[in-house]
Amino acid sequence: MEAIQELEGHTDRVWSVAWNPVASSSNRSVLASCGGDKTVRIWEGDCSDSSSSSSSWNCKAVIDSFKRTVRSCHWSPDGKLLATACFDGIGAVWEDVGGDYECVATLEGHENEMKSIAWSASGTLLATCGRDKSVWIWEMEAENDFQTVSVLNGHSQDVKTVLFHPTEDILVSSSYDNSIKVWAPDPNGDDWSCVQTLAEPNQGHSSTVWSVAFDADGKRMVSCSDDLLLVVWDTSTNPLESSWLSFIILLPLIFKFCLFRKHLCTLSGYHERTIYSVHWSRRSGLIASAAGDDAIRVFAEANDPSYTSRAVFSMVGKQQKAHSTDVNCVRWHPKDDDILASAGDDGLVKLWRILS
């Protein structure tokens, strides 16, 4: 992989980056970043431009009204809204109004630091989580008005990440309690509850699970942890594809979704320090990871993906010293297979092109 851009501007570590899924096309991309300097920066540029001297990239907006570290940011599926999670415990939704980003909604309720915020595939739900161990689900009732749908308690420790399934209304959370929890709406639809916990007994993680990512259609999920492992899970909802579901064939009649996820593959021996972030490319199927050993790694599947009861992945790329310090986040470009964005403790956002 080669570095194609370095975006300077943040004055403290950058925690997360997010590509606008709609605005990013072949010659113009929009990227949001957030960090310890209490700002969100919106960058715009051309990914095919790899010259740093006359770079097309510029920071087109800065949101600096936050009171504490902005830990994560996530664009809505239609690309019109940006949701942010801040250590002051408040979630916010921002809209580009003539070049300036205005706050159109706030989500208050968490008792302390909010760590992650995520949109559902439909764009009508938001999920948040934080150090108070809870996961909240919010629904957009009217234009820019979000109401609490559920406050979900189940994790025994700080919740690091929440993420919705790419197509279904299923939510996944990962925590300092070493587990991943799967949440779904109750059959009567009024509330959500935990339908499965993936922990050490299921071949899960033995330390904090920092993040999770789904593949393009949500049939598989990868998780990353302080235990230095990446774990790939089968999360397919089609009962016929999951090999051990015959005995619960009755349950899909009661529950809308198949709820049982299982371990597929563990990637060990690659990372030297905590893996903070993982992302699965919707287009190329490659998995990228960001770790505290300053490296970005890329993994590819080595077997036939239709053989669903097993998965074999191998590392196909590694960028040592991707940043001069910890790499906190990696995100694949939504349209361009080869482009990856990363965020580091060095205060930089970097763009990379994967070379074949």
Binding site: T69, R71, D226, R273, G292, D326, D346
Partner: protein, 166 residues
Amino acid sequence: MALQNANPVIHERKATRRQRPSIGDESAAEEIDALEVFDILFLGLDRIWPRDIRDPEHPYSLEQLNVLAEEGIEVDDKQSYVRVTFTPTVQHCSMATLIGLCIRVKLMHSLPPRFKVDIRVAPGSHSTAAAVNKQLNDKERVVAAMENPYLAQTVRDCLAPPEEYE
């Protein structure tokens, strides 16, 4: 707040330090070793203000209370790695997290950014050692804690020079 360890055992400070070129000279690619880290935590060097980390409950330094000793510091300069192992004064000491935080902040300010630092309580020395260690080594938790102004001030107080230097 009642003191948890009202009668600590005081150990003698090491009287001698070996001579070495002063760090802080940016042009020299200095190698960091255990003694250097020990000094950062205890005495500093000429160009850095002499600082001690003090046990939050007592005016004595952590060295004098045998909480932190040179043997507890492991440094691999080539790998840019440091591990500090400390022994809290009592088994259930709730100050363990604070002491560990002080060590982390002090090293963050004193070591080149290339260093990865792990901090832990000595195995068997604390009733919830694993829980304390996990918190001390969770970067996000440390950053969030240090954004708390009261905690940040407490850490600053612990890292402030003892009265004799003023």
